[in-house]
């Protein structure tokens, strides 16, 4: 009986909550398909969108795909079945969206893409894209590092999850960025799978297999850089001095590390897309036309500015 109660209580309580928010008859229903919760960056993005929805009195249907495109497609289908007013989608990859977006389009539901684009034959299938440019981020990191190294040095790279879009683009952008500098070489490149633990493990191996040769670390996200910092300290070296470290995202932990002098630079990739996303939703629902691309401006932070910015970091 306990079990039964628990199953049936669930839909029951949903009714209550939806009738709570449903007291305002004009409350929008918006579906948000998120990739997962693999990093603090991602969590910050989710939080930004959920907070913004709450602020605006929007009835949000949140779905966490646990890193699987299949689940995202499931989510969009169930949003369509629920006849939501708009869909926000953070696509895990670029391809494979055409069929499901067509369904949404046919149902007259506007789709706002966040963090990265999709490849579709007809870009009227989505309303607008609000995103950073991963390739540009990689390039910015490369430029900062090339400058700091003075044009020569050995770099080790900690890649993101193999096959994931940011990993591919940030690698590509970085390689473009260092290409003009003959003296700079990437001597090791392995995946740290975007996690702190893996970042540390890979860095430990790099330090052992190329002792004394590493001048700088480029990590595809801050979490891996923070792991690498620990590995460098364990090896008796000074991160940020003996070995320069640059990474991407700009989470709070990275700023703390910069203030402590252990991280040299982080390229911001702003996850606080909630306000912009719901502005776009509001406009789309109101029938206004929107720019196809809303590019989020990313900035480079280094130790010189870290201390003043840190208190304003929300994530």
């Amino acid at each position: 009986a306990v079990v039964a109660a628990c199953v049936f209580a669930l839909p029951g309580c949903s009714k209550k909550s939806s009738s709570d928010s449903g007291s305002d008859p004009k409350a929008l229903i918006v579906g948000f398909s998120q990739i997962g919760a693999e990093s603090s960056w991602r969590t910050a993005e989710t939080k930004s969108i959920r907070d913004e929805a709450k602020k605006r009195g929007i009835d949000l249907r949140f779905s966490d795909a646990q890193q699987k495109q299949e689940n995202q497609i499931k989510a969009i289908n169930s949003f369509i079945a629920q006849k939501v007013d708009a869909i926000i989608l953070a696509p895990i990859v670029e391809t494979g969206w055409e069929p499901v977006l067509k369904q949404a389009f046919a149902a007259g539901i506007p789709v706002i893409l966040v963090d990265r684009g999709v490849k579709v034959s007809d870009d009227s299938l989505y309303t607008s894209l609000i995103a950073s440019d991963f390739v540009a981020e990689g390039r910015m990191a490369a430029e900062w590092l090339a400058n700091a190294l003075g044009g020569t040095g050995n770099i080790v790279e900690l890649q993101g999850t193999p096959g994931s879009a940011p990993a591919i683009d940030r690698k590509k952008g970085f390689e473009e960025g260092i290409a003009p500098h003959e003296g700079i070489r990437i001597i090791r490149s392995q995946t740290g799978e975007f996690t702190r633990a893996k970042g540390k493990e890979v860095m430990e191996a790099f330090l052992k297999s190329a002792p004394g040769q590493i001048n700088a670390v480029y990590a595809h996200n801050d979490d891996m850089a923070l792991g690498a910092i620990q590995a460098i300290e364990d090896a008796g070296l000074k991160p940020g001095k003996d070995i320069l470290i640059v990474s991407i995202d700009g989470v709070r932990g990275a700023f703390e590390a910069m203030v402590a002098g252990k991280l040299n630079c982080t390229v911001e990739c702003n996850p606080l897309l909630g306000p912009a996303a719901f502005d776009a939703v509001a406009k789309a629902v109101a029938g206004e036309t929107l720019p196809k691309n809303i590019v989020v401006q990313d900035r480079v932070f280094d130790q010189s500015t870290a201390a003043e910015v840190i208190d304003s970091r929300e994530y």
């Binding site: 079990v3 669930l10 029951g12 949140f62 966490d64 495109q69 990859v93 391809t95 490849k119």
Partner: protein, 316 residues
């Protein structure tokens, strides 16, 4: 008499599934819609196909951890064949199916000949297939949306059911028939129930085992083809760890992990149950990531406990 009571557990599972579905359909607007109903089949077609193949392997007393990776590999191979070598869907897809079956047969052969644990061999197969899929393309994904045959197939629907859903249903029917009405099918049950007895009874143990694995490979390859058509892209990271869901679906559907007892119909129920359970949070509103996981866990728990209770109740 015995013939009917044997199906009680399956009926109990079906009843609990329908009850869950009805409850959700009443509680959430849109959940009971025809659109969502058809999506349960198409969204879970790849999983379903893999689970059907997995049913054969588990019935035979084995396990196949490679199915997710084989799905990814076959979608990549199909994409390469069609986009790079310009083969048509009709010539490329059969090649991929044969490849999948051969891959399964290869693993089954190693398990049979060297008497190695299926877990190890198919795990190696998983690494191999996933690695090969990743190596096949630098971009890890090949966009296929501009290829006409893929496009038209992916947009073909009958009464809202996509091609994938129809393939799934057809596969269930065929697999059920093979298991029930062919000597091969019965031998699969026999070796899962008691392999040494099956050998002493003079049954073709080796052939049945290799056959079970090659069917699993074939089903996974079909899953890859369906996946490619559904997504209009070949994808090396598709179906990551799908094998766990497939195994869970098979077991929830009443097939014993130790082998010898179970059915594909049960597996289909298991797949739909997993699909249902993971869809409910999408309707639940603003649950955050962790609550979604906890709710999925609780729903699964509630389901299996209800299923157990229903089965006990029908037993006496």
């Amino acid at each position: 008499m015995a013939r009917f009571t044997r199906h009680w557990p399956l009926l109990a599972t079906a009843v609990v599934l329908i009850a869950l579905y009805a409850t959700a359909a009443i509680a959430y607007p849109g959940f009971g819609s025809w659109f969502q109903f058809t999506r349960f089949f198409s969204d879970n077609a790849t999983l379903g196909l893999a689970a059907i193949g997995m049913t054969f392997v588990i019935l035979s007393g084995g396990i196949d951890l490679s199915v997710g990776a084989v799905i990814a590999l076959s979608s990549m191979v199909l994409a390469v064949l069609m986009s790079r070598l310009d083969l048509s869907m009709w010539s490329a897809a059969p090649m991929v199916l044969v490849l999948g079956a051969a891959f399964g047969a290869f693993m089954g052969g190693i398990i049979q000949v060297f008497r190695l644990p299926p877990f190890l061999v198919t795990l190696a197969g998983m690494f191999l297939a996933r690695g090969a899929a990743l190596l096949l393309s630098d971009a890890k994904r090949i966009d296929m949306k501009d290829i006409e045959s893929v496009r038209s197939l992916s947009e073909r629907h009958i009464a809202g059911f996509s091609l994938a859903a129809m393939v799934l249903v057809a596969a269930v029917v065929i697999a059920a028939a093979v298991l029930r009405f062919t000597r091969f099918g019965r031998t699969v049950y026999a070796i899962g129930s008691d392999e040494s007895a099956a050998r002493l009874m003079g049954l073709p143990v080796a052939r049945a085992r290799v056959g079970a694995y090659s069917i699993s490979g074939l089903c996974a390859a079909a899953g890859g083809v369906v996946h490619l058509i559904g997504m209009q892209a070949g994808d090396a990271s598709a179906a990551f760890l799908l094998e766990l869901d497939a195994i869970a679906a098979v077991v929830i559907g009443g097939t014993l992990l130790a082998g010898g007892r179970g059915s594909v119909i049960g597996t289909l129920l298991g797949v739909l149950i997993l699909g249902l359970i993971t869809t409910i949070p999408n309707y639940q509103g603003d649950l955050n990531t962790w609550w979604i996981k906890i709710v999925i866990g609780l729903l699964l728990l509630a389901f299996v406990l209800l299923q157990r209770a229903a089965q006990r109740w029908t037993e006496c």
